[in-house]
């Protein structure tokens, strides 16, 4: 305990001096007026210049796949498209979509655009059914992905003095290695902890004075419970100052909760294996939407039902085209993620447009009694109640009955049945107002629901298909 106390005291002084330095020097040692950049020129490029880079990337990509990828050649032929038809960014509309199902159908390597000896790394995205989606990286793809992570981390204020514990799974999942390479590029000390083994995670955090973590939001909440059981107050007893959370849709309320428990700034990270993993879009110091690196990805929002493009500001499915990927370029990839573009420029000065927090996967959308709802809407309500803990489960039964099982927060039980019943009634009413579906709400003692250290399974749909 003494060591922990000392660590906290030391880091406070450390943070103080660092804050002063950060306002004058960026991570590469260049003078900077406050906001930190990894690649100021590219990150603040004027829109016309940025769009010129995009068009060049798009044209080169289309040319390369038209010459090298039979899968796309067939589609281009069917649509009567030749590479030279792509003259402006608007011509993207003429190109075909690529879906997750396509990636499975060409498994393992039907979308390779390079010779088979060029790729240096393989990642796959977890397949819920059947074959996974395999994604190849060339050496330049690996370093490009690391470059985008470096931009992302530095824009939150990370410097080479930080110690980053990467609590995402290493292995086939991109959250481990891709983040790792990028953080090394910045010059952080990176601890490849991976997920799980909370005891060991804590030991590493304490012994190496970890200042930042990359973690699944559900694991951050679970780990908070673990710390509480050991009477450790992370805000006081650990040296953490930043957390990067992603790879699971989560709400603003969950962010606030993690920030409060840990006493850190939480930054939202967006990525998907098909697009290199983390570092596709990331929040800057202002935490107001995620800058998507538009020199690497062409961004569209489409109507998930019709595929028709939607204007800026409208909510729909995110569609991404790789502009720099060498080994496995993808055209108009349907991410299934629901979001919208924030049209206004960000005060940080970056010209790469921001996405709203992902509100759900188009696959996750539930239809209950004819009403569309996303599990995140329910989470938002639950997390706004301090009496409710971190773990919850949504169950839909045969007759479109929505049941929510939510754990009480530790310390929220005062012994009175009446208070629990009143809380239950308020929750039901708020969820009904939010989703237009009246749920059955079961309050559970803390620790009743199974905990997972990986991506949490929050929805059980028992309706017959």
């Amino acid at each position: 305990m003494q060591l922990v106390g000392w660590c906290a005291a030391e880091i406070r002084i450390h943070n103080h001096t660092q804050a002063n330095q950060d306002s004058t020097w960026d991570s590469r040692g260049y003078k900077s007026p406050g906001t930190m950049f990894w690649d100021r020129e590219l990150e603040t490029l004027a829109r016309p210049a940025l769009e010129k880079i995009q068009l060049k990337g798009l044209q080169e990509t289309v040319q390369r796949i038209a010459a090298r990828v039979p899968f796309y050649q067939r589609r281009f032929d069917a649509l009567g498209i030749r590479p030279e038809d792509i003259r402006s960014l608007e011509d993207i509309n003429r190109l075909p979509f690529t879906t997750g199902a396509d990636l499975r159908s060409i498994y393992p390597d039907g979308l390779l655009a390079v010779d088979p000896d060029v790729p240096v790394r393989l990642h796959t995205s977890s397949g819920t059914s059947g074959k996974p989606k395999a994604v190849f990286f060339s050496s330049s793809d690996v370093s490009n992905a690391a470059e985008l992570i470096a931009r992302s981390l530095v824009m939150t204020g990370i410097t080479r003095r930080d110690v980053l514990q990467n609590m995402m799974s290493y292995g086939l999942f991109t959250g481990g290695l891709v983040m790792h390479y990028g953080a090394e590029k910045v010059g952080c000390l990176v601890i490849p902890a991976g997920p799980g083994s909370s005891e060991r995670q804590l030991m590493l955090m304490q012994d190496f004075k970890v200042t930042a973590v990359h973690i699944l939001p559900s694991y951050a909440l679970y780990f908070a419970g673990f710390l509480e059981q050991r009477n450790i107050n992370p805000a006081r007893d650990l040296c953490l100052r930043k957390a990067f959370v992603g790879s699971e849709p989560h709400t603003e309320e969950t962010r606030h909760r993690i920030e409060q428990i840990y006493g850190v700034d939480v930054y939202n990270s967006y990525g998907l294996t098909e697009m290199n993993g983390p570092g596709v879009a990331f929040e800057c110091e202002h935490k107001a939407g995620l800058h998507l690196w538009e020199d690497n990805y062409l961004l569209e929002i489409v109507d998930p039902a019709t595929g028709e493009p939607l204007p800026e500001g409208k909510t729909g499915e995110l569609v991404l085209t790789t502009l720099k990927r060498e080994a496995m370029p993808l055209l108009r990839y349907r991410t299934r993620d629901i979001t919208s573009i924030i049209p206004e420029p960000c005060v940080c000065g970056r010209t790469h447009r921001r996405l709203q927090r992902i509100t759900g996967r188009s696959d996750d959308m539930l239809i209950i009694r004819g009403v569309n709802l996303f599990p995140q809407q329910i989470e938002r309500v639950l997390m706004s109640f301090p009496e409710i803990g971190r773990n919850y489960l949504i169950i839909i039964d045969g007759l479109d009955d929505l049941t929510i099982r939510a754990e009480l927060a530790t310390g929220a039980f005062d012994g009175y049945v009446e208070h629990l019943a009143a809380l239950q009634a308020r929750l039901i009413e708020r969820i009904r107002a939010e989703t237009w579906v009246k749920p059955t709400l079961e309050l559970l003692p803390a620790g009743s629901l199974p905990v997972t250290e990986g991506k949490a399974k929050r929805v059980i749909d028992n309706r017959s298909l």
């Binding site: 039980f413 049945v417 239950q424 079961e442 309050l443």
Partner: protein
């Protein structure tokens, strides 16, 4: 003297075997259950009880991961004869004190009424004014 007795309240999931689980934890810890009540609203339950070793019981239950709270109650001694109970509730009602929960048991010639009220100080003063005897935790356990 400390006249406020305490009940232990445990928050339980509404599924079979939960009360047995609590009883076993208490038995293993060597704690005797003197009295218990279970309130169930269909989706969850709260088990409330009086034990001979309160601190030990709370520690044992918490160690097993249960959500536990201590509930202050007034233990009012009344005669074991008709109408005695009514006298207690009437005098509280006269002072506009709502009874959250109220339960009783009989030990020999004594009848004991356990009263949970929001304002325990006011309720105690009222009852003592009316000449009721309030038992401390120790006295209650000696019955």
């Amino acid at each position: 003297m400390n006249r406020t007795a305490h009940l232990i309240a445990v928050f339980l999931e509404n599924k079979p075997g939960q009360t047995a689980r609590v009883s076993k934890i208490l038995a293993d810890a060597g704690v005797n259950l003197c009295w218990l009540t279970i309130a169930n609203n269909g989706t969850f339950g709260v088990m409330k009880f009086l034990v001979d070793q309160c601190d030990l019981a709370v520690t044992a239950l918490k160690q097993q991961g249960l959500m536990v709270s201590l509930l202050p109650v007034l233990a009012v001694e009344t005669d074991n004869r008709p109408g005695a109970l009514l006298r207690v509730t009437d005098s509280l009602r006269a002072q506009n004190i709502n009874l959250d929960n109220c339960s009783g048991f009989v030990a020999g010639e004594h009848a004991l009424l356990l009263v949970e009220v929001p304002n325990i100080v006011q309720a105690r003063a009222t009852l003592e004014e009316q000449g009721f005897r309030l038992l401390s935790q120790d006295e209650m356990l000696r019955l």
